[in-house]
């Protein structure tokens, strides 16, 4: 388990919300680049190098497609590169498209990580507080899906070995699938009666149900809340002071390089790389601890 995963679910959730918020509501090139590289780096610590390379390959393709789409449909901007079907293709639209593509791919990378780190029990824990009934229903549904899948395979196989729906023509196969699905519904209703009994036997339905979880807050979680609040404060101050405004149309603006803004960029970079940094620090620490043994 990576270090970041072992934070309290609320910390992880808030961190993601902030990352996605910052990425999606600023169009400043440096912020977007930070978000993208941070997302890729985190994804790299979570998966194998080979997986990461194949991911990057795929998203590079997506990047090219997305960044070409904008100049084809948008013709704003003053620097015309060439005409296509009597429509101007401009440099500004190109650059804007590139950064939109970067934003989309950054969000995709972060979501991939989120998917891996925020396991279902964490999601349930977070939202169970708000709607306790819903969280139980979700927990039951999540338990049910793999059961349903497995049973479908078993029924299908046993029908096949009796020669039913085993012919090599498509209508027969489709019919077979529908039948199997139909019987699966019956099967699941039948079995859920027993589940209901088991719930009743353990006192489900009595008033004042509580919600239990195995997650607990540690000191590092509290520190994270502090750090995130501090970051948000600085981010909004900077945004308010106009440090994060970048102009794409009609002509490309200059990237602000004043001292204050460089500090802000560094801060955002630090924030975006935070999961990867602590992961690496943790690894170094373990190397060190192991060498001591």
């Amino acid at each position: 388990m990576s270090r970041f995963e072992s934070f309290h679910p609320l910390v992880i959730f808030l961190y993601y919300v902030i990352v996605l918020f910052v990425t999606m509501f600023t169009n400043h090139p440096i912020v977007l680049l930070c978000a993208l590289t941070g997302g890729i780096a985190f994804s790299g610590t979570l998966s194998t190098g080979r997986q990461l390379l194949s991911d990057i390959g795929f998203y590079l393709l997506l990047f090219i497609l997305l960044s070409l789409a904008n100049p084809l449909f948008t013709h704003n901007g003053e620097t015309v590169l060439f005409f296509m079907n009597d429509n101007p293709v401009t440099k500004e639209a190109f650059v804007y498209g590139e950064f939109i593509a970067i934003m989309i791919i950054a969000v995709i990378f972060w979501s991939k990580c989120l998917n891996q780190v925020m396991t279902t029990d964490k999601v349930l824990f977070l939202f169970g507080r708000v709607v306790p009934k819903l969280s139980l229903i979700l927990a039951m549904a999540l338990r049910f899906i793999p059961l349903f899948k497995r049973q479908a395979i078993i029924i299908n196989n046993s029908q096949k070995t009796m020669g039913l729906y085993a012919a090599d023509n498509i209508p027969d196969k489709v019919k077979g699938t529908v039948r199997v699905f139909d019987s699966l519904i019956g099967w699941s209703i039948e079995n859920s009666l027993e589940t209901a009994d088991s719930m009743k036997a353990r006192g489900y339905g009595l008033p004042e149900r509580s919600a239990f979880s195995i997650f607990s807050m540690h000191r590092s979680d509290l520190m994270m809340f502090g750090l995130m609040a501090f970051f948000l404060l600085l981010f909004f101050t900077g945004k308010h002071a106009g440090l994060l405004i970048f102009q794409y149309y009609p002509t490309l603006g200059q990237i602000n390089c004043s001292g204050r803004s460089v500090v802000l960029y560094a801060l955002i970079a630090l924030f975006m790389f935070f999961p990867s940094i602590i992961e690496i620090m943790e690894k170094i620490k373990w190397k060190y601890l192991e060498s001591k043994i």
Binding site: D121, R143, S158, Q159, A166, T195, R202, I214
Partner: protein, 558 residues
């Protein structure tokens, strides 16, 4: 002190003429381990469910149930939910949530306890049951045995005073079942927990039970210590229970002697040694005349794995099954027996080696050719065989496979229904049948295809002794019709009764193969209880009938 008292309990289900329970009265003392037995449909489950108020079925009820002197109706909701624990038969269906820890906490959440209390109680139980290693796992990744232990633990966290279990081991393999029963024994001995359970694997629970409640046709037949029950049942004809009793008791009942009734293998041995000589050590059997050695199934150097990266499940396996014989393959859980059946049935394709059915390579069969009038597989769970609303509709579905009209299939159905005596439940939804009836109906469906080879996967799982006997007779009849049968099972006793040849599947291949006498007499552990009881006295007794016969022969000899 008395913890449970049942007084003149009568119960009948709506729209049913006969009573499910008639005049049941008994009491249970604190800390007792009580086993309830009786043949299928004698009302065991109904009785247990009535004792747990939340699960009481609808119907007409009279009589009273007292828990610690309080009438069941007057119990407070929380007491009733917590203090009377209930574990059901099917390990899968009782689990409510996705994660092990959540499942353990479920009952306590319902009680509205605080996180700290829940954490402590759950932790305590998880360590008692050895769950800590899979505490954070998903529930669907567990094995059957682990699931049932989880169900037990998630009832035990509620700190019940009496635990009711309805055939909790019927869906488990023998080793997991043993573990489960040992855990119950430990709970009973170490915690003084009162236990009331039904069970068809009586071999293991009889010796540890304090008292046994025998039900017969909705009435209490006997309620006494196991030893006394063994002795008394000897004189009761048609009690429906004797068949399922431990082998030691069955041998005792088949013989005439005045010593106390033995319960375990050890006691059984002592009883035999004390009362009988062993001048005649071997039972002469007619050599089984195996039919003409034409092979029905041939596997040559078969290798199989599910995925390229996964390990081999079957490694270099050779097996020849001759036409018209019954072959049983025994083996532990997860050893790959079911996978092997899949290979024979053509649903798993080996990556090396050859499978021949009736001398023809299995890959050369096109479409449903192999399955019509050829080979069929009855999977472990007979429920998966049915996909229609009634058994009859399901049977009729097969006319598509057989390419015949409604009339012809009805004719066939009639014949099969008569043969299996299943005419009564043709119009019933398959899920409404009991385990044994479902199994029978599933066999019926398979027989409609007029197969020449039948593959059976754990046909005795969750079935009581009476149905097992019926199945034995049926399979032997089918064999006489010239059908080849391959059975994969854990059930050593069943295989000993029925097999022409037995094999043991271990470590990806078949390690020993031979006729039952030779197979079981050479095994020390993996053998029938009757053989374990008699192995010091006799040479080749494998069933209780063999032991009884040998004892009688020695008696005559004296």
């Amino acid at each position: 002190m008395e913890i449970l008292r049942v007084e003149n309990l009568n119960f009948s289900y709506p729209l049913r003429e006969e009573q499910a329970l008639t005049d049941i009265s008994f009491n249970v003392k604190e800390g007792e381990f009580i086993v309830v037995c009786g043949e299928s449909g004698c009302g065991k489950t109904t009785l247990l469910k009535l004792i747990k108020r939340e699960l009481a079925p609808c119907g007409e009820k009279s009589g009273t149930i007292y828990y610690k002197g309080i009438r069941q109706e007057d119990l407070d909701d929380r007491t009733s939910a917590c203090k009377i624990g209930f574990v059901m038969q099917n390990p899968e269906n009782q689990i409510v949530t996705e994660k092990v820890w959540h499942e353990l906490a479920f009952g306590l959440e319902n009680m509205g306890l605080q996180t700290e209390t829940i954490r402590r109680r759950v932790g305590e139980m998880a360590s008692f049951f050895g769950i800590q290693n899979w505490f954070r796992n998903k529930t669907d990744e567990l094995s059957g045995g682990q699931k049932q232990i989880l169900n037990l633990a998630s009832v035990m966290v509620m700190q019940p005073e009496i635990l009711i279990l309805d055939e909790p081991t019927s869906q488990l393999d023998p080793i997991a079942a043993s573990d489960f029963i040992n855990t119950l024994y430990k709970l009973n001995q170490d915690m003084g927990l009162t236990i009331l359970m039904t069970e068809h694997r009586l071999e293991e629970v009889f010796p540890i039970a304090d008292r046994v409640l025998v039900l017969n046709k909705s009435k209490v037949l006997l309620f006494d210590e196991p030893r006394m029950v063994g002795e008394k049942l000897k004189n009761v004809e048609n009690n429906g229970v004797s068949r399922g009793l431990p082998s030691a008791i069955r041998i005792y009942q088949g013989l005439q002697n005045n010593s106390a009734c033995p319960l375990t293998v050890k006691e059984g041995r002592e009883c035999l040694a004390k009362n009988y000589t062993n001048k005649i050590r071997t039972l002469k059997r007619e050599k089984r005349c195996l039919p003409a050695a034409e092979p029905a199934i041939e596997l040559k150097n078969v290798w199989f794995r599910y995925l390229r990266e996964s390990p081999d499940i079957i490694e270099d396996l050779n097996l020849t099954v001759k036409k018209g014989e019954i072959v049983c393959l025994l083996g532990g859980n997860g050893s790959g027996k079911t996978t092997l059946l899949g290979v024979i049935a053509g649903s798993n394709r080996p990556y090396r080696g050859r499978v021949k059915i009736f001398g023809k390579n299995i890959r050369k069969f096109k479409g449903r050719e192999l399955y019509v009038n050829g080979l069929t597989l009855l999977p472990q769970n007979p429920q998966t065989v049915f996909i229609k609303e009634t058994v009859l509709d399901d049977y009729r579905e097969l006319c598509k496979v057989l390419d015949c009209d409604q009339k012809a299939i009805d004719h066939r159905i009639e014949r099969i229904a008569e043969r299996l005596s299943i005419g009564d439940f043709l119009n019933i939804h398959p899920y409404d049948l009991s385990g044994g009836e479902q199994q029978k109906a599933a066999i019926g469906k398979i027989l409609l295809l007029e197969p020449r080879i039948i593959l059976l996967d754990e046909p005795t799982k969750g079935i009581d002794a009476g149905y097992k006997d019926q199945m034995c007779t049926l399979l032997k009849e089918l064999k006489d019709d010239g059908i080849t049968i391959v059975i994969v099972s854990h059930d050593v006793e069943f295989c000993a009764h029925i097999a022409d040849r037995c094999g043991m599947f271990f470590d990806r291949t078949i390690i020993s193969f031979g006729e039952p006498e030779e197979f079981f007499c050479n095994n020390n552990f993996y053998t029938t209880v009757a053989n374990r009881i008699s192995r010091t006295m006799f040479d080749n007794a494998i069933t209780t009938e063999d032991v009884i016969e040998l004892c009688r022969m020695n008696e005559r000899d004296e």
